[in-house]
């Protein structure tokens, strides 16, 4: 029960975070900041190694196949 409340609290905090910023329409020529390489909404190529070992060393991971070797997979 406590865990559920914690989750709700956390989601509410993040919701509030978004609520602070309403969406506006941004034209292509106004996207100089958003097109900056550091603003990309994806992990960087070099992060793939970290995602890989974390998916093994932490039971909670996304769509990795699970323990299937690959460097640090099974030990």
């Amino acid at each position: 029960m406590r865990d559920k409340n914690k989750t709700k609290l956390l989601l509410a905090s993040l919701g509030l975070l978004f609520g602070l910023n309403s969406c506006v329409s941004v034209a292509a020529y106004q996207k100089a900041y958003l097109n900056d390489e550091a603003m990309a909404l994806r992990a960087k190529k070099l992060e793939s190694y970290e995602s890989n070992f974390q998916s093994y060393r932490e039971g909670a991971a996304g769509a990795n196949g699970g323990k299937s070797g690959g460097g640090c997979g099974c030990n």
């Binding site: 060393r57 932490e58 070797g69």
Partner: protein
């Protein structure tokens, strides 16, 4: 306590977003002009092919290896070179190729034969090779895009293949996009049991694992400086989810000398079905011309009883026009899987009474928290780092566009720690 850390992190982020960055107006105009030029240019010229050579070194040490029942060395080193190639096929389609090899030595994998001569050195060696290809195409009429991908990997006891695809719907103003994706993975295992359990018994009924993933992600431009990505996945796994050479010791080992443990080991037993649901959010903010803010949060739950929260923050800083330094921090916390037992904790009576059918002493599935801290460096001069002519190819020049470096230290609450360093050499040709 753990939640407090996450809330503190979220509060710091909220504070950061409300700061109005001081920015030079001319700088904004310049960037907008550049952006307009890029939009015009992209319609007329086919982009260069790109290739990245990535190299990673990883090492870890700990004292809770599941190969020896939840206690014993986890020392491991891994070197992983990878090539990533991006080839534009025409103005609307491109091909991504990714292939590499992992070379690793693992003390615990070497302990699969622990009771045969008590090997303990870090001499377990193996390689894993992998290849992945993706075809991506923009649909000019609708502005949408799709992607198809497939891959294969092989090592001494596991071969895997996977295929999948995604479809992305973009809004006309390119401020929103919705992406749907699906992935199928199949792993085939050679069932290698602990040395002392190789008596011809089929301890595990399956030697194959299938994984199916369905994902949904939605990205939204919030304003000129802020954009977000929400993702949700449903991952279903079935078949062999145990690792055949992981040992578990029941409570009958209490008082038994280590030399006599061979008669008391059991093969790890895990549920052959697992449903995972991760939900994540990325939020990136352009604070000012010097600093950007990259944030990530993920909530995770699964049918094995694990619930987890992960948050990370990265601050890319423009040190010079060519150099970006990016310090980062990540925090993760998770509850234990229902089937996790420490060394000598699960009892035969519990199993006989069907109080539990499954058991593991794999600390990756235990109640834990972890922190990761590190630094990334990106050196990318406007005209590239250098140019050279490749051998065997006439009238072609290759440009080393940028060099990246990333290093991180990882510390897990059960004492496991890891360190890694990665390099990225980006070429265009």
């Amino acid at each position: 306590m753990q939640l407090r850390k996450i809330i503190l992190l979220a509060t710091i982020l909220a504070g950061s977003y409300t700061l109005m960055a001081q920015t030079d107006k001319n700088s904004i105009d310049d960037k907008q002009n550049e952006s307009q030029k890029k939009v015009k240019k992209s319609k007329t010229k086919l982009k260069d092919a790109e290739a990245n050579f990535l190299l990673n070194y990883y090492e870890q040490d700990g004292d809770h290896s599941p190969v020896t029942g939840g206690r014993g060395t986890e020392k491991l080193e891994n070197v992983a070179p990878t090539f990533v190639v991006h080839v534009p096929l025409d103005s609307v389609s491109n091909l991504d190729l990714n292939f590499g090899i992992d070379f690793y030595t693992s003390a615990s994998t070497n302990n699969i034969d622990y009771f045969e001569g008590r090997k303990t050195g870090a001499s377990g060696k193996d390689v894993r090779s992998h290849i992945n290809a993706a075809y991506n195409r923009d649909l000019r009429n609708s502005g949408n895009a799709y992607s198809l991908m497939a891959g294969f990997s092989a090592e001494f006891d596991v071969t895997s293949f996977h295929f999948g695809g995604s479809y992305t719907i973009n809004s006309k103003d390119q401020n929103r996009s919705l992406s749907l994706d699906a992935l199928y993975m199949n792993d085939s295992w050679k069932l290698l049991y602990p040395y002392e359990r190789r008596d011809g018994t089929n301890w595990l009924k399956d030697d194959k694992r299938t994984t199916m993933k369905f994902g949904l992600s939605y990205s939204q431009v919030i304003n000129k400086r802020l954009q977000a990505l929400f993702s949700a996945e449903v991952v279903s796994q079935s078949g062999l989810l145990s690792t055949p050479f992981h040992r578990v010791f029941f409570d009958d080992v209490n008082g038994v000398p280590d030399d006599n443990l061979r008669d008391f080991s059991h093969v790890e037993m895990l549920d052959d079905n697992r449903l995972k649901i991760p939900i994540s959010m990325r939020l990136n903010y352009y604070l000012n011309d010097f600093m950007r803010l990259r944030t990530f949060y993920r909530f995770y739950t699964d049918s094995w009883g694990i619930t987890a929260h992960t948050a990370s923050i990265e601050l890319p800083m423009q040190i010079t026009p060519s150099l970006i330094a990016s310090p980062f921090f990540r925090y993760h916390t998770q509850t234990a899987a229902d089937y996790f037992y420490e060394f000598g904790q699960v009892s035969k009576a519990m199993v006989d009474a069907k109080e539990t059918q499954f058991y593991t002493s794999d600390y990756d599935l235990s109640d834990l928290s972890s922190t990761k801290i590190g630094l990334g460096l990106q050196y990318s001069p406007l005209l590239g780092v250098g140019k050279f002519k490749p051998p065997f190819v006439k009238n072609k020049q290759v440009q080393l566009k940028s060099i990246g470096l990333r290093t991180a230290f990882y510390d897990r609450s059960d004492g496991l720690n890891a360190w890694l360093v990665s390099l990225d050499f980006a070429f265009t040709f």
